[in-house]
């Protein structure tokens, strides 16, 4: 059976720095069912306009490079099928709330610097255990579940393009960084909420989230940043009132007296 084909016009935002060009260009193509917006962009570049620029890599919703505004909605181009949009004209803009480098390429530096600001890694008083472990941290499946969802963030930045606070406040940490602050702080191996407080518990920190929920609607990975942020607020308030103490995950020492069977060959020497 022949796949359904339709003629669709793509209104693509064009901006080339220094060139003075800024505006929309339209490209009309016939796309078969199943074509993603990213594939359509490749067709445009190959057959219509080789100067068009965007950012993409994995084309399967894992790398988080191809976030853009598709018909006004922040989405990954690789995970959006053109004919599913149900529109004869598809408008493509760079993600809102970021400076534009060129065409559909946003400058994501602010996203990464905010992410770095919340120390997105395990922080412990016994940091040596993290750097040169003597055993394994004990964590129950339920404890894992309490933060696992938030660890699927691919740093595509779509949530910041959706966030109404980020729309005006350049210093607001934004849904991505705040959700990651909760992802680490809720991890039983981590004891770092107190050291993250400096960035979280200030004006442009966690309390400028007003639960508009747009970030969670935009997230292509189901991370639900709005949820993480509300849980983070509760943690920060309770910790601020001295109401919550944390028990850090214990380290299970490696079995020292265990002698492997002679039938098992020795491991090769470490290379790193």
């Amino acid at each position: 059976m022949e796949a359904r084909r339709e003629t669709v016009t793509f209104r693509v935002f064009r901006y080339i720095p220094g060139d003075g060009e800024k505006g929309f260009r339209s490209y009309t193509l016939e796309v078969p069912e199943g074509t993603t917006v990213l594939e359509a962009l490749h067709i445009i570049k190959e057959q219509h306009d080789p100067t068009l620029a965007w950012r993409s890599s994995c084309r399967m919703g894992v790398c988080g490079s191809c976030g853009m505004l598709i018909n006004g909605e922040p989405r990954l181009a690789c995970q959006t099928q053109v004919l599913h949009l149900g529109s004869k004209v598809v408008e493509l803009r760079p993600m809102a709330n970021y400076p534009v480098t060129r065409d559909l390429v946003p400058d994501l530096s602010s996203l990464f610097s905010k992410h770095a600001a919340i120390s997105p890694h395990i922080l412990r008083p016994d940091q040596r255990e993290v750097d040169s472990p003597t055993g394994e941290f004990i964590q129950s499946p339920a404890e894992l579940e309490s933060y696992l969802q938030f660890s699927y963030c691919i740093k595509c930045g779509l949530c910041l393009a959706a966030c109404p606070t980020v729309a005006t406040d350049p210093d607001f940490l934004g849904p991505q960084a705040l959700a990651q602050a909760y992802r680490y702080s809720a991890d039983t191996r981590d004891g770092g909420l107190d050291s993250r407080r400096g960035v979280l518990d200030r004006f442009h920190g966690v309390f400028q989230c007003h639960m508009a929920g747009a970030c969670s609607a935009a997230c292509p990975k189901g991370v639900d940043p709005a949820f993480a942020i509300q849980l983070l607020k509760r943690e920060v308030v309770l910790r601020g009132l001295g109401k919550r103490r944390r028990r850090l995950a214990r380290v299970s020492p490696l079995p020292s007296e265990h002698v492997p069977s002679e039938k098992i060959p020795a491991a090769p020497p470490r290379t790193a």
Partner: protein, 122 residues
């Protein structure tokens, strides 16, 4: 002070208002639903009559404090989310705090004076 404390206080003020402001709004705007006209509710005599109750007077002090804090804290949030700069942000905070203190002072004076007037009229 940490933002979490300002914010938690604002949430506390919201809870207080859910009780006292709801009561205030119901008395002042919904009285016709129980057969008392708004003119009667808001007449000078009725105002003084209500002011004789200590519970109401203290309720108004509480409402005044909670509403001003919650409202001005919220307004500060809205303004500071605009790019006002560091100095601008500090100025906005100081100005709104002053507005709050003056409004509370004046409002509390009005409540106290009304209570005094009501008591002297007995």
């Amino acid at each position: 002070m940490r933002e979490s404390r300002f914010w938690a206080l604002s949430m506390l003020a919201a809870v207080v208002m859910l009780v006292v402001l709801t009561a205030h709004m119901a008395v002042m705007h919904l009285s016709p639903l129980v057969g008392v006209s708004l003119e009667t509710t808001r007449s000078f005599a009725a105002v003084l009559d209500r002011a004789r109750s200590g519970v109401q007077t203290w309720g108004y002090y509480l409402l005044l404090a909670a509403a001003l804090y919650h409202g001005l804290y919220g307004l500060r949030g809205v303004i500071l989310e605009l790019p006002v700069g560091r100095a601008g942000a500090r100025a906005v905070t100081v100005i709104l705090a002053l507005v709050g203190l003056i409004a509370f002072g004046y409002g509390a004076y009005v409540v106290a004076e009304t209570a005094r007037l009501a008591a002297s009229g007995i």
